[in-house]
Amino acid sequence: MTITPETVAFAIMSVLVLGGGLGVVSSRNLIHAALYLALTLFGVAGLYALFEAPFLAAVQVLVYLGAIAVLVTITIMVTRRLMGITENVNRQWPVAALIAVLAAAILGFVVISQFAGVYPTQAVPPDTIERMGQSFASHQGFLLPFEVASVLLLAAMIGAIVVARD
């Protein structure tokens, strides 16, 4: 295996994602957990950029870092007594650990059995954005799911405005 700039970048991003994920579940301070989550999400954005999906990377940063991580952090900050929890003992931890290990094993099995040794056979086309736009707007593509999601988001936004008006 040769070391290319891509492998180095992949290694850095993987460390960010995995280390951040570990930090999320292991830190006692909830704010720190939220910040580790932001780090993980940033690493995922980096992976998308590395896999030549710049649109997905930008949306990941915009939505997950700019909105969801901020939302989670603010929610933790404004929730009373959430910050003061010192005892983090949960009696159900063996069950949770078992489920987590099982889920990881299943996901790992699926990924390795299906995609191990599979590499992309052709280069990424240069006009990915145009293709994506066309598949969103054509009825052979994803017109219906796209419109349904748009209407849902619009309804949520109008709902927020209505709530704010009262």
Binding site: I31, A58, L62, G66, A67, V70, I74, M77, P126, I129
Partner: protein, 419 residues
């Protein structure tokens, strides 16, 4: 001679070629390595010049504001006080960084870095001239929205990790404002993207044979208001309100850490002017800029400084708005207005393409005239109706308050007479 002139006309490409030749022929690097080194140098140069131009901008802003307020402004260090900022920077750099007790050290020190990063990264997609752009990403417009949203994270981090209630309050209301204004910001940004049919910043500039400011003045205004709010300048400077929350989210920062927040804020102020120039004023376009790319940066900087002057002007003359007024202005006025504007203009554009002969969506100044006229009419009707609606709301509110006032004064007089 003609060769020299031609190479001077596109000085950016010439310098790039010269550097490539220097690395490949003289120093014996491979072409890939040479292009990598040049990209690295270019990124460093760009980021440095963004921060260096601040030295001038801060002086410019202080001087203009002083003149508007009938003062002289900086006048001690150098001619017209032009080196005042250098002296201020030297002072800031020598100050100690004080870390308060109970501060969360790592987030506390990372916050200023993210704040500068989120601004400087935007410049990677700003086209200075036809042949001078950091990287012409095919998602340029989305990219700068994404990286500038990192600024919110830095404010939240700074406010929380300082372990100071004023910092936290400032961060909360600042984040509430920034998140609210991101919606009209993006909706107004969609207008140039749709009109030019591309998110590539270079294409957006190339599509503006007629600047989008003329085609869609109301969208430009919404974009401008939202971007001033994103920067957090007057009248939207609730992130730091000296009279209310001391200094806002960066109250506990000192020395170089404070200088980074300060630099990020002022650089952001200049950056939104550059974005306004690129998206609505035609970027580097101007007489002869197509043939002589070297001229592009002159037009670009000229327009950007014009917009910057306008920003300083509004900053100097407007008072601070109340936070609830700011938020309702965004959610109850700017967001609905920009949604209506977006939908109607897209509809009008499509109908125009179908039914109006000679309707072109790209081309020269003359080709674009029918489209400009149609969209301008739509924009002005929507904007005019919105203005009338707001004026009506204001009149009703004033009548209500006057009625309440007169009832109160009558009651007061009656009570006095009874006594």
């Amino acid at each position: 001679m003609a060769d020299v002139l031609a190479s001077l006309a596109d000085i950016y490409t010439t310098i790039g070629n010269l550097l490539t030749r220097l690395f490949v022929d003289v120093l014996g690097a491979s072409p890939e390595l040479a292009s990598g080194i040049i990209k690295f140098l270019g990124a460093g140069l760009l980021a440095t010049s963004v921060l260096l131009i601040l030295v001038f901008n801060i002086w410019f802003e202080r001087k203009v504001m002083a003149r508007i307020q009938d003062r002289i402004g900086p006048n001690r260090v150098g001619p017209w006080g032009i080196f005042q900022t250098v002296a201020d920077l030297a002072k800031l750099f020598t100050k100690e960084i004080i870390i308060p007790d109970g501060a969360d050290l790592v987030p506390f020190m990372i916050a200023p870095v993210i704040s500068v990063m989120s601004v400087v990264l935007i410049w990677a997609v700003v086209p200075f001239a036809p042949t001078l752009i950091g990287t012409d990403l095919n998602i340029g417009a989305l990219y700068f929205v994404a990286v500038s949203s990192l600024g919110v994270v830095s404010i939240l981090l700074a406010g929380w990790s300082s372990n100071n209630k004023y910092a936290l309050l400032g961060a909360f209301r600042g984040v509430a404002m920034l998140v609210s204004y991101e919606v009209p910001f993006v909706l107004a940004l969609l207008v140039p993207v749709i009109l030019s049919g591309s998110m590539r910043m270079g294409d957006i500039v190339r599509a503006q044979s007629i600047p989008f400011l003329v085609v869609m003045p109301v969208a430009a205004l919404i974009f401008w208001i939202a971007s001033v709010a994103e920067v957090g300048r007057q009248p939207f400077d609730v992130i730091e309100g000296e009279s209310e929350i001391v200094s806002g989210y960066h109250i506990e920062y000192s020395g170089f850490a404070f200088a980074m927040f300060y630099a990020a804020e002022w650089a952001h102020g200049f950056t939104v002017c550059a974005l306004m120039t690129v998206l609505f004023l035609g970027g580097w376009r101007g007489p002869g800029a197509e043939q002589i790319p070297t001229l592009g940066i002159v037009y670009f900087l000229g327009k950007t400084f014009l917009v910057y002057f306008f920003q300083v002007w509004t900053r100097a003359i407007l008072p601070r708005m109340r936070i609830d007024h700011i938020l309702s202005f965004s959610w109850k006025f700017l967001v609905p207005l920009s949604l209506v504007l977006l939908v109607l203009s897209v509809l009008a554009d499509k109908l125009g393409q179908l039914y109006i002969p000679g309707y072109a969506v790209a081309g020269s100044f003359v080709d674009l005239l029918p489209r400009t006229a149609l969209l301008l009419v739509v924009t002005l009707i929507v904007g005019g109706l919105a203005a009338l609606w707001v004026a009506g709301l204001g009149r009703r509110e004033r009548r209500r308050q006057e009625a309440a006032l007169s009832v109160a004064s009558i009651e007061g007089r009656a009570a006095q007479q009874a006594r």
